[in-house]
Amino acid sequence: MNRATIDLWVGIFVTIGLGAIVFLALKVGNLTSIETKPTYRLEAKFDNIGGLKLRAPVKAAGVIVGRVESVRLDTKTYEAVVGLRIDNGYQFSKDTIAAILTSGLLGEVYIGLEAGGDPAMLADGGRITKTQSAVVLEKLISQFLFDKAASGPAK
């Protein structure tokens, strides 16, 4: 096996190997969706965040406009403070409503933003005041049972 042949094959091997990594990154892993665009930060307080995870999507009308960046507990009010990274391209009015929603019955948990009508926009570090917490299924069921019991025995 002479040197030129080995060089040729190693070159081909390394090229298609690196090509495979690029394929995994772009076609399988969708590297292009990683946020390199400038972003700004918003905060929202929730009574209960349910199953919300870091890096969960933030959607407005179903379009992903950002990601959940941080989740912490406010020890004074015992509310969850969720930090959101929003694309600079999307601006939201000050009376925007943030709700914790689930896509489908068992799908991922995300934050839905519903734009309001206020002409003033939220700036970097702004706070979304109107929020709607996650629906906890157990609470819903117990409420349902309680209502059933209160309305008297079924006939």
């Binding site: 060089d7 190693v10 091997f13 190997g17 990594i21 995994l24 399988v28 969708n30 990683i34």
Partner: protein, 268 residues
């Protein structure tokens, strides 16, 4: 007292333990020595390129064919199981995640250990048996720099590329079965895969795993060859140890790495 069976049993355990510790120590010193001699070996890239040819290029066919078949089986089995819950559309993410995170690095690593690792061990072991290594030392050529380091680095560089190719062929195989044969929508297949798999951390974790496996298998292969008894039997048992030890090392390391990576994911 000294000849009682109990004492003999303990003596055997003791000898085994001491032997294992001394081999572990020797392997560690050997690893450091290989790293120490690496710069001088890498200054002659032609040596390493030759080893990439033997370890990487010649493993291409087996890796790519295995990847294709593993992907096709995953496509069939995955679709069958997912479709019971009406989740057949999630085939893309199921196949992609299993291949990129686990099967790609692990199965490619196992194949690499048996295809390339055993060959390296046999080659170095036979060089030792035929006293070529001693002859090199006599000529003031360090066999660690001339023979061992290029083979080690050839394996380390080939392994991530082979694992990535395995994953790509697997995804392609699942695409053939899922989309072409069963009829999952092509857009849904790729869309679910891209939505569910992130470059960071999923793809990068797979690459980190394959690099670690490459280092482990290559080190075991060159060490077993260098440490082999210089007899025909010694070389054959060294080759066996490379395949068995390399495979077990991959599976054990995979568990450890997965635990760390998932804990990392969970804590955010």
């Amino acid at each position: 007292m000294a000849d009682s069976t109990i004492a003999r049993g303990f003596r055997r355990i003791g000898a085994g333990t001491i032997n294992a510790i001394s081999r572990a120590g020797f392997a560690t010193r050997f690893f450091v020595a290989v790293l120490y001699h690496s710069p001088s070996a890498l200054r002659r890239p032609q040596l390493t390129a030759r080893e990439i040819y033997f370890s990487g290029v010649l493993s291409l066919v087996v890796i790519m064919v295995s990847g294709l078949f593993v992907g096709m089986v995953l496509g069939l089995q995955g679709y069958d199981a997912l479709n019971k819950y009406g989740a057949g559309d999630s085939l893309g993410i199921f196949v992609g995640l299993s291949l990129v995170r686990e099967l790609g690095p692990v199965v490619a690593g196992l194949l690499f250990a048996s295809r390339a690792g055993s060959a390296v061990t046999a080659e170095i072991g036979l060089m030792k048996t035929t006293e070529q290594l001693t002859a090199m030392e006599m000529m003031a050529v360090d066999p660690l720099a001339r023979i061992v380091a290029p083979r080690f680095w050839g394996g380390v560089m080939s392994m991530p590329l082979l694992a990535a190719l395995f994953s790509v062929m697997g995804v392609f195989g699942a695409y053939i079965i899922g989309v072409r044969l069963i009829g999952v929508d092509s857009g849904v297949f790729w869309g679910n895969m891209q939505a569910g798999i992130d470059f960071w951390p999923d793809v990068t974790n797979g690459i980190i795993k394959s690099i670690v496996f490459g280092i482990a298998v290559s080190l075991i292969a060159v060490f077993e060859g260098y440490d082999a008894n210089p007899t025909a039997e010694g070389v054959s048992s060294a080759t066996t140890r490379t395949v068995v030890g390399g495979s077990l090392a991959i599976l054990a390391l995979d568990f450890v790495l997965t635990v760390f990576m998932f804990r990392g994911l969970g804590n955010g």
